[in-house]
Amino acid sequence: MNSKKKFICLEAAMATIVMILLFIMVKEQMGKQSYKISVILQDSDSSQWSALRYGLKMAAKDSGTEVFFASIGNELTVDEQINIIKYEIDNGADAIIVQPVSDINTEVELKKLEKKVPVMLVESTASKDRNASILPTTEADNYAMGRSLAEEILKDYNGNIQGKKLGIITDNSSSEAITNRIRGFKDILENTDAKICWTIFGSSGKSGKSFLKNKPSVDLVIALDNASLVNAAEDSALNKLHGALVYGIGHSTEAVYYLDTGDIECLVVPDEFNIGYKSLTEVVESLEYYFYKMKDMTLYYTILRNEELFSEKNQEIIFTMSQM
């Protein structure tokens, strides 16, 4: 290669480097790509999701992503939910965090969408069986919460609840989360003489209160989801439960309020902040690393009692619930 060719090659190489550097500069100038993550929760504006939303927002802030909450009502069908997800994807969502509607087709439909964008489930798996779930899920240990709630009841009665009558209320018995909570609860009470008089499913619906009114009186009302718990506590505050004590699982300030006023005896609070925080962090990981496979995450929960409600640690839980 003669000198002139060498010189031209050298100049061309330097020009190429300059172009690359300018490209990087412009790219940096335009800023790091900010991922848009859509969150689809049922009854999305409910205060029960305050901690979860706060966790999602904090994770988004820490990871430099944007999080959008789709405004959705209470009772969604699979098709409606899938349509909403599709709409969000069409609107530029890079990933979806969704509380799945409990239906046999949900998982199949969501799996199809997962080919387009990462999909993370929260609160419950889409399939009935947690072990058979094929989509990553971040949720509290529902089975353990059910067990803990039963254990707290036993503690209050020194392990003897012979002859006590129990009524169980839940919002949607078909979800994996509720199923596991019931299973955990029943597993503990299995060997006791307590009697479960009735179980109401879908109490958070329009007719939730009327169900309780017309049911035979019981000693203990067990609410396995936040909405059912608040409904039961409201009834208790209005003395509609004929002296029945309320135990339940919830994660809203309303639930805490009724615990504070003594209308709820014991409140099991799933760590909603971390469900939100960790689910979004996991999604961001999968967006940033192509080969990253999102994992299932099971988070812990806290048992709140009136006496220790305002302890330092519990105040932080209430703090997350109080965030708008």
Binding site: E11, L21, M58, K61, Y257, N274
Partner: protein, 606 residues
């Protein structure tokens, strides 16, 4: 081994002047640019770092002032309630007035206040604004703000943020407040009592202030903690309590106001601390070292782009300059190479003064070389011719015929002794003439040859001239060119003596003077006209007319070829007086070594 050596030699083949200049310029420029780039970057980053710290300090000063104003305002609220409302009124007598005035104060500050409440020392609520339903059993006396106020009655106490656990809220919400509590004295139904005045500040006021400055996305952040290091505000408060993030807040209690460096969780960072007056709270600015370079990646790239662009430009300039410098040298080199290759172009003359001079010098050198080459070729030709002539002289048939004729004549006249002498001299003559084919012989031999020749000639010319040899004996051992005297003697006989009547005299003188041997043949013959003397050594044809064929020109050439132009023959002549022909040769001792060197013709004596 040889192949390896030659390969390595090829590898280290010297670069051309163009590449060398280009490489040298580029290396120096690259080095300077690199140094410049690094220095610029370091300087810039240092200034930028200082600027970030200064800006952070400024921001912290402003925020600190806002916080102090805010807290001062709260203290003023507390003071106003205490000194203007509580102390001035009796709770039983002026309950309404107390409420009204408290309401006024609350309304004036409600953006930052959650509630104002007065409790007696048993924890019973005396008054509160806004009026709200107290919880059934809030256990006031065990709440932190109450115990602190009662323990240190002389001070006002700021709590860390906590949930207000005093009143029932119809909205079923919980409020995050910072409590300002102080012990107070008041009168109820004329009875002096002690209690605690509580001003609950809305945490969102401080939270907003802190959020406003925590809007940078370069990793830099601010947090607020109390004097013991307990966090009051941190943008990752929940993450820290959940163990997702961490903060070195417990160490802050040990720091005073200033700028500190710390290494926390694998990260170097700068801590800027400002203490908020009265409360002892510390506003902490955290600048991770990574944030110093956050905005500087672009600057790095920018400097790199500038350096590369400069390098590109300099490369062009260097090429131009090196072209300018090397082009005349390369052209000169090319013309020299062409010359060496056998072509004969004009040597390039151009470029700078020095290169022009070089061109001229080379051209002159080549011209001189050409001239010398021509001279050498001519000399060689002359030499060959002279040697041929000398060889011819050795076997001059006419001379031999005359000599043999004289011998025959002597034998017939029964002059046997003379014949023997003649034959013997002839034998000596031929022996020395041959001299084993040597060109250089000793002066002794040369003189012997001259004597033998003259002896033969004397007999032939019937002693019509006399010959005398006046030789310094020590010169015999010096070198001489063979047969240089014989042609001169022949000329002396032919042109000088011949025709004279018995009075011809020829003298051969041999001397050494100033490192030279001078052999002179002096005759008292008819002499040579002056105009002819000048032609004898230059016009060989003229001389050859009468001679034996071996003229003085030949002798002179042979001497000068061997010893240089300083040596040779000189002729001095005067008509009717005689002629002196002098041979001048260098005094070189006759040794075998000197003889060989001289015969190769390598030495010339200037």
């Amino acid at each position: 081994m040889k192949i390896k050596y030659s390969k390595s030699m090829k590898k280290f083949k010297p670069r051309g002047i163009h590449s060398t200049i280009m490489f040298a310029f580029s290396a120096v420029s690259a080095f300077i640019m690199l140094i410049l780039g690094v220095v610029l970057y370091m300087r810039f980053s240092s200034i930028s770092r200082q600027e970030i710290i200064q800006n952070t300090q400024k921001l912290m000063e402003e925020t600190g002032e806002h916080l102090e104003d805010y807290l001062l305002n709260m203290r003023q609220v507390s003071d106003t309630v205490y000194y203007n409302v509580i102390k001035e009124n009796d709770f039983s007598d002026n309950d309404n007035l107390i409420h009204q005035e408290m309401k006024l104060i609350y309304e004036a500050n409600k953006n930052n206040l959650r509630s104002i409440a007065i409790y007696n020392n048993y924890g019973s609520l005396m008054a509160a604004e806004p009026v709200a339903l107290q919880k059934e059993d809030p256990d006031i006396t065990h709440q932190n703000w109450f115990t602190r106020a009662m323990d240190e009655m002389e001070n006002m106490h700021f709590s860390t943020p906590h949930i207000q656990n005093l009143f029932s809220d119809a909205a079923r919400r919980y409020y995050w407040v910072i409590s300002l509590s102080r012990a107070v004295e008041f009168s109820d139904s004329g009875v002096p009592m002690s209690g605690v005045l509580l001003v609950d500040m809305d945490y969102s006021g401080i939270s907003r202030m802190m959020q406003k400055i925590n809007n940078q996305n370069n990793g830099q952040y601010y947090y607020l903690c109390d004097s013991t290091g307990q966090i009051i505000y941190h943008m990752k408060q929940v993450q820290i309590s959940n163990g997702i993030s961490s903060e070195n807040n417990s160490e802050i209690a040990n720091y005073r106001d200033g700028v500190y460096h710390e290494y926390f969780k694998g990260e170097h960072r700068k801590l800027l601390i400002k203490t908020i007056s009265y409360t002892g709270w510390k506003l902490v600015g955290v600048i991770p070292y990574s944030s110093f370079t956050h905005g500087m990646f672009n600057m790095r790239y920018f400097i790199m782009v500038i350096i590369i662009l400069m390098a590109m430009m300099l490369a062009v300039i260097h090429r131009f300059i090196s072209d300018k410098i090397s082009s005349p040298i390369l052209k000169l080199n090319a013309s020299v190479m062409e010359y060496e290759a056998g072509e004969k172009p004009e040597i390039y003359i151009g470029g700078s003064q020095e290169i022009r001079h070089l061109g001229y010098s080379i051209q002159r050198s080549y011209e001189q070389i050409d001239l010398l080459m021509k001279e050498i070729v001519m000399e060689q030709n002359e030499r060959r011719k002279s040697e041929l002539d000398a060889l011819q002289s050795q076997i001059n048939p006419h001379f031999l015929y005359n000599a043999l004729d004289s011998i025959v004549w002597m034998v017939e006249g029964e002059r046997n002794d003379d014949a023997v002498f003649m034959i013997s001299e002839l034998a000596k003559l031929f022996r020395i003439s041959l001299s084993k084919g040597r060109t250089i012989i000793s002066l002794q031999d040369e003189l012997q040859h001259a004597k033998s020749y003259m002896n033969i000639q004397k007999i032939r010319y019937k002693n019509c001239f006399s010959i005398d040899f006046d030789i310094d004996s020590f010169i015999y051992s010096y070198c001489s060119v063979k047969l240089i005297l014989q042609p001169i003697l022949e000329n002396a006989i032919n042109y000088g003596i011949n025709g004279m009547d018995d009075c011809g005299e020829i003298t051969v003188i041999g001397r050494k003077e100033d490192g030279k041997i001078i052999l002179s043949v002096v005759d008292n013959g008819i002499g040579i006209p002056e105009d002819e003397v000048n032609f004898i050594l230059t016009d060989s044809d003229r001389v050859h007319k009468h001679g034996s064929g071996v003229g003085l020109v030949n002798v002179n050439n042979r001497i000068q070829i061997l010893f240089g132009k300083d040596y040779g023959i000189t002729i001095e002549s005067e008509l009717d007086e005689g002629t002196t022909v002098s041979v001048c040769i260098p005094a070189v001792p006759y040794t075998e070594e000197n003889r060989k060197i001289l015969e190769k013709g390598h030495i010339k004596y200037e």
